[in-house]
């Protein structure tokens, strides 16, 4: 803070120190918030001083000469602009201010705008506290005020590059468009050993005690408290205090406020509450009307929202926990250094949940390999590089599942095998070496986008840890095992089966530096698990229902009985 601003603050404090505002609050709060708004909107020192001093002449009786003497001509000029001639009638005064705003310089306009913003913000919080009776404080009631503030918004359009203009416009909308409820309803229930509270309306100084009474016995013996604030419109400091004491009572137990609207979120942010308690904002609602569908998958559809973002919209029956898990993994992958799209927030569209992702403007590695056969070597090289990049990352993050655990669930879903055979599959997983290498889970060439020669991965839902042979075995499975020997065309990769085989061979050579499993095993003993893991994958995917057809079922059953089970027995003997 420069000396001049400090001086202006002390000067204003001396003038207004003993005064009160219409609503009974200390007067100094007002010039201070005006100066604060100005400072946040890039004002220079003179303008900030004018903000602090703007009512010293009009309401404090200070002589203009005093201001010039202490703060200079420029400060006085700005202050005088926002000083009304009280000898005129209300309407004349307001009209002359409105006319002046249209033609004054930017600094003067900024001061008046900040002044009006501070005033309407006060009106808003008073409305929530005491309801519509607030308007009786004004000599001219709600209708006249509404006209006046809407005029201000209109005249200040030239400041639309500033945040304070947006705030003024939004606050005026809120104040005059809806008559907020001043009552509150709160309910508490205990379910699954957790206390759930739902609250709607406004929590203010009148009903905060009542809110506190509802919560009085929480959390009791339960594991914690979850407050659903989706219908909460306003909370005053008295209400915040109730939350704070509940949070203290919860100690190390769960304490969470969910579904918070943006208005209420603002209050939590400004008061710093969002930093001391877990507060989950309500999902944004976005419209997908007229948006282009860019993909459909097993759990949802992708729409292009605009030039920079897409939304992955899940089908109706998708569990929210699953969506949160997939989004959390995408973020973890990004933070660990895996090149992937930014995942933004969880949103709602057409009543369904979705996650917004950055749009990657690029072709997939699969598309490139299909269209430019001559560059197959180069693309196989990119394929190897991205896989090695993922596999160079190690993590012990407990929230990233091990691939073994993730695959045990798949074993349960297999149909048409004996329980003994199922047991062999579990025993197989027991034998596979552990590891803390980061695995993508489905590194197929359709999940890799290439922009400017650099790879970017999508679909992070199967992120896990373990031996890198797991990731490679999935490639081996989808490129070699998953196609039928008689077919010349591979429908999944949309290219000739021979080309797919060629890509796999090039990939293998690039990743392991040799041509065969036997050779690779000499330097990396884990390669021994590559084919067995691919057999395992054949079982978990092709034996789940009959989606792959009878021929593939037979193939998988053959691999299970003739290859995987003997392998498990041999390995178990070696281990003994």
């Amino acid at each position: 803070m420069t000396n001049k601003i400090e001086k202006a603050f002390l000067f204003a404090l001396e003038v207004h120190g003993h005064q009160k505002r219409k609503d009974g609050k200390p007067y100094i709060v007002h010039p201070f918030s005006v100066a604060n708004v100005l400072a946040r909107n890039g004002a220079d020192d003179d303008l900030i001083c004018a903000g602090l001093l703007h009512d010293t002449i009009e309401d404090g009786g200070v002589a203009p000469e005093e201001i010039v003497h202490q703060f200079g001509e420029e400060v006085l000029r700005i202050v005088l602009f926002d000083t009304e001639d009280k000898s005129l009638s209300w309407e004349e005064r307001k009209r002359s201010t409105l006319d002046a705003i249209a033609s004054c310089d930017r600094k003067c306009a900024m001061l008046v705008c900040a002044d009006k913003l501070a005033n309407i913000c006060d009106v808003e919080s008073n409305l929530a506290e005491s309801g519509e009776s607030v308007w009786s404080q004004f000599q001219y009631g709600r209708e006249k005020q509404e006209w006046l503030y809407r005029e201000y918004v209109d005249r200040f359009a030239r400041l639309s590059d500033l945040k304070m203009y947006d705030e003024l416009k939004a606050t005026v909308e809120r104040v005059f468009n809806k008559r907020r409820r001043t009552s509150m309803n709160a309910k508490m229930e205990i379910k699954d050993n957790m206390t759930y509270v739902s609250v709607d309306g406004s929590i203010n100084s009148v009903n905060a005690q009542q809110f506190g009474d509802v919560l009085a016995v929480a959390p009791g013996d339960t594991e914690g408290v979850v407050i659903n604030a989706a219908e909460l419109e306003y909370i005053s400091s008295a209400g915040l205090r109730v939350l704070l004491s509940l949070k203290k009572r919860c100690g190390k137990k769960i304490f969470k406020i969910i579904g918070v609207s943006s208005d209420v979120m603002n209050i939590f942010d400004v008061t710093g509450f969002s930093e001391i308690m877990e507060i989950v904002p309500a999902a944004r609602t976005i419209s997908i009307d007229g948006c282009e569908v860019i993909g459909r998958g097993a759990c949802g559809e992708c729409f292009r929202i605009d030039d920079e973002t897409i939304i992955k919209l899940y089908y109706d029956n998708t569990d929210t926990k699953f969506i949160e898990h997939e989004k959390a993994l995408a973020k973890k992958a990004f933070v660990m250094g895996i090149p992937t799209a930014i995942s933004y927030d969880i949103v709602e569209a057409n009543g369904r949940k979705g996650v917004v992702y950055e749009l990657i403007k690029a072709k997939t590695l699969g598309e490139l390999m299909r269209s430019e056969n001559a560059k197959l070597d180069e693309y196989a090289g990119l394929y190897v590089d991205i896989c090695k990049q993922v596999h160079s990352i190690r993590t012990k993050d407990p929230e990233i599942p091990s691939f073994k655990e993730a695959n045990r669930a798949d074993i349960k879903n297999i149909t048409g095998i004996t329980e003994e055979e199922r047991n062999y599959l579990h025993r197989f997983l027991d034998l596979v070496p552990d590891g803390d290498t980061c695995l993508h889970g489905d590194l197929n060439i359709n999940n890799i986008m290439v922009q400017n020669g650099e790879c970017c991965l999508i679909d992070m839902g199967e992120l896990s840890t373990g031996t890198p042979m797991f990731d490679i075995s999935r490639i081996l499975f989808s490129m070699i095992y998953a196609s039928s020997e008689q077919e010349e065309y591979n429908a999944f990769y949309k290219m000739p089966t021979a080309t797919v085989k060629e890509i796999y061979e090039k990939f293998f050579r690039g990743y392991f530096g040799c041509d065969t499993v036997e050779e690779a095993e000499k330097t990396n003993p884990e390669v021994k698990w590559l084919h067995p893991l691919a057999w395992f994958r054949c079982c978990t995917s092709m034996l789940k229902g009959n989606r792959w057809g009878e021929e593939m079922r037979k193939k998988a059953l053959g691999l299970l009985r003739e290859k995987l089970i003997p392998f498990v027995e041999k390995e178990e003997m070696l281990h003994e």
Partner: protein, 97 residues
């Protein structure tokens, strides 16, 4: 639609324009040059209009390198970019002033 990188002093770089797939490598080069002589880095984002995943990755990479040194600080972050940091939850990881 490009990025301009201005060197304010030994450890402050001002970014002007768009930090995306095309321009992220330029920033990466500038940062590694700056880090050969500096222990900490300040990125002035007042005039940065847009940041994509490629840009965010360069920032995170720098953050990791500097975690063992005096640190990375982002200043004057514009509203649009701030929104990206907030919505993605990266504001919790980065030092933003």
């Amino acid at each position: 639609m490009s990025l301009k990188i201005e060197k304010r002093n030994n450890e402050t770089l001002a970014l002007i324009g768009r930090l995306d797939t095309v321009t992220a490598p330029e920033l990466e080069t500038e940062i590694s040059a700056a880090l050969s002589s500096a222990e900490s880095l300040v990125l002035d984002m007042e005039k940065l209009d847009y940041i994509s995943s490629a840009g965010l990755r360069v920032i995170l990479k720098t953050q990791k390198v500097l975690a063992h040194k005096a640190g990375l600080k982002l200043i004057h972050v514009s509203n649009d970019v701030r929104e990206v940091f907030d919505i993605t939850g990266f504001s919790d990881i980065l030092t933003i002033e």
